[in-house]
Symmetry: C2
């Protein structure tokens, strides 16, 4: 009679601060409920909805799960690649092809070991066809170069542009931060490729010596949030800063976003990274946080379930268990609201809008959950 997974879920839920029963939260513009849609994931990192409203969820340790539309059933996808699951590394983001219904392509980003058996690693992007809960026709379409021995700052998010490009947001590998300012590597870059890994001809550094053709923008630290603006079609990114200095940027082709030459943050422990926050030839952020909230995933809200949130930019944060709502109006930042600080006690790694217009949060915990945010009646 009882579904074993449901019971499992209920037991786990009872042991955490989140309960299966919905919490009601009065936000500035909407009264919402927060409830557990699915849980029992081990450090989930990325998620995406399929056209039938089911969900793909990554666990950092390397597993990819399919979760049914109602959150109650799940199945492990077979055939996923080996990942370097250490510290910040592992299986990271997941997204589907804009033409998924006809081509079944799924894209994942992950920390890939060096091909020569050495100790280095870097962020790679694989695509594969999802057929009967298995990966087939696997192709590695991007490899961050060079491989490097570090277990930190892999990025990453995967988002498609309206023209069909795939943006891959990357990290600076922490101890290679200066690489973010040079173009002969993919550290601290946003790259833009076609879904098969080929290079768009109009990428900004195509044909330039000592510059890698995949690069779209540079001077980034660790970009873990990205979405396309629903009206302008522009890429918006969120990068996790040092101590202070988390940033929202709108990366333009070939532009330099300054890290580590300019920053509003200091290093962990307070050491100065740069005295400068502004320098000619480097772009200022659209918005920044001091102190840091430890930003991760991000999404524009475009649904009808929360009319007063339409067009706003939502940023998930790890440190204070919050979601920052940036109230945007005609491209301007009018106000920041911090949601769920008192409701959710978990690191929020990703945020997505569901096909139902509700918001879904992914908590990066040893018993990680997908939380559903919907209007309270």
């Amino acid at each position: 009679m009882f579904n074993r997974k449901l019971v499992f879920t209920a037991l786990l839920a009872a042991s955490t601060s989140m309960t299966a029963v919905a919490d009601t939260v009065e936000t500035e513009r909407h009264k919402v409920t927060v409830s557990t849609f699915a849980d029992g994931f081990t450090n989930p990192w990325g998620m995406t909805f399929l056209p039938d409203n089911s969900v793909l969820v990554t666990e950092r340790s390397g597993d990819l799960y399919w979760v049914s539309e109602n959150g109650q059933y799940r199945e492990k996808i077979s055939g996923t690649p080996e990942v370097v699951a250490k510290s910040q590394g592992g299986l990271l983001d997941v997204t589907i092809d804009p033409d998924f219904e006809s081509n079944q392509w799924v894209y994942i980003s992950y920390s890939e070991p060096a091909q020569d058996g050495g100790k280095g690693n870097s962020t790679a992007v694989m695509r594969a066809k999802l057929v009967d809960k298995a990966f087939t026709d696997k192709e590695v379409i991007f490899r961050q170069a060079p491989k490097y021995e570090s277990n930190a700052h892999f990025g990453s998010r995967l988002v498609f542009s309206p023209e069909g490009h795939l943006f891959v947001t990357l990290g600076d590998r922490y101890s290679r931060m200066d690489d973010a300012q040079t173009l002969d590597n993919h550290h601290g870059k946003v790259v833009r490729i076609w879904p098969d890994g080929s290079i768009p001809e109009d990428n900004p550094f195509v044909g330039q010596d000592n510059a890698l053709d995949e690069i779209w923008s540079y001077g980034h630290r660790n970009v873990q949030g990205a979405d396309i603006h629903p009206d302008t079609g522009e890429l918006w990114t969120v990068e996790h800063g040092p101590q202070g200095g988390d940033e929202v940027n709108i990366p333009k082709a070939g532009k330099n976003y300054g890290w580590p030459e300019i920053t509003y943050g200091v290093d962990y422990g307070g050491a100065i990274i740069s005295e400068d926050a502004v320098k000619e030839g480097m772009e200022q952020p659209f918005y920044y946080w001091v102190p840091s909230i430890a930003t991760a995933g991000a999404t524009f809200y475009t649904g009808d379930a929360f009319p007063d949130w339409k067009g706003d930019f939502f940023v998930a944060a790890l440190k204070s268990s919050l979601v920052a709502r940036l109230d945007l109006y005609e491209g301007r930042m009018m106000h920041e609201e911090r949601l769920f600080e008192d409701t959710i006690d978990a690191r929020i790694r990703d945020i997505n809008q569901g096909p139902d217009g509700f918001l879904y949060l992914l908590t990066d915990e040893s018993n990680g959950s997908i939380l559903q945010i919907k209007p309270a009646d």
Copy 2:
């Protein structure tokens, strides 16, 4: 040997949380000291620097003081008008003519009693020549109409445009909030006049029936902060919202800023003023605060003493004893920093930049002070 006022000042200082000894504060971009420049004022409300670096300070109860350049001597200005010093009413802002050195005109705003001896009052603006610490050649150049029996929401700030207009920011008189949406009165308006009180020909409602010629913009609640943007020459205002909904606006000729039809706030106690925050034909704020910080005076910083603050907009707040720094870049709001929350324990009514490039705060307390903010060595 001892100057009596100095001793008096030192004694008073010792009895408050501010001491004559400077407090050092680490802000995000600058290490600063906060010290008492002058104190012993009774609910000071507005201040302005004279060309010789001395200061004029209003007390809400009706007195206007001249304070010497070093803060140590003061003298009462004689000949100031009768004011309705009740609740929020009294002597409010003070500013000087752009040509003060040649014409000695000083402008003050204040709650003026009804001329017919009735119980009504409203904000008026007087100009007078300041000669030997006395007001002469007094002229009332503006009277907010209609007079009304209320002791709340008088505004006001006085600022000159680069073209020499005088902007007067007003309040909605609280119980007359709906008047802010109609043009046959000065409640909830920003008005623009010439320094002699005459009407600029190109004011937006000149020649329109049932609209007062002085009106520049409407739909405001209680505008207690204003300054001219140093690059664009545009007026920026700060209005004190209800519970939630303090706003920064950039009032344009003839535009409607929405109060009370739209607001991000609710009434004190939580009652709904309007369900709407956005409506066609009404302007959105540049920035807003929820919850309210209880905004008052405001200034752009244009000096050299704090290079990283250049171009930023500083807003004084009453409730949390803070100054909000809006970090602006190319007209965009990138970040809000809250200064002095842990250092100053007083309602901050006004903020000005001194001729020395330091910032000066006015604390609206029974023993109110001028506080000086300067770089720590």
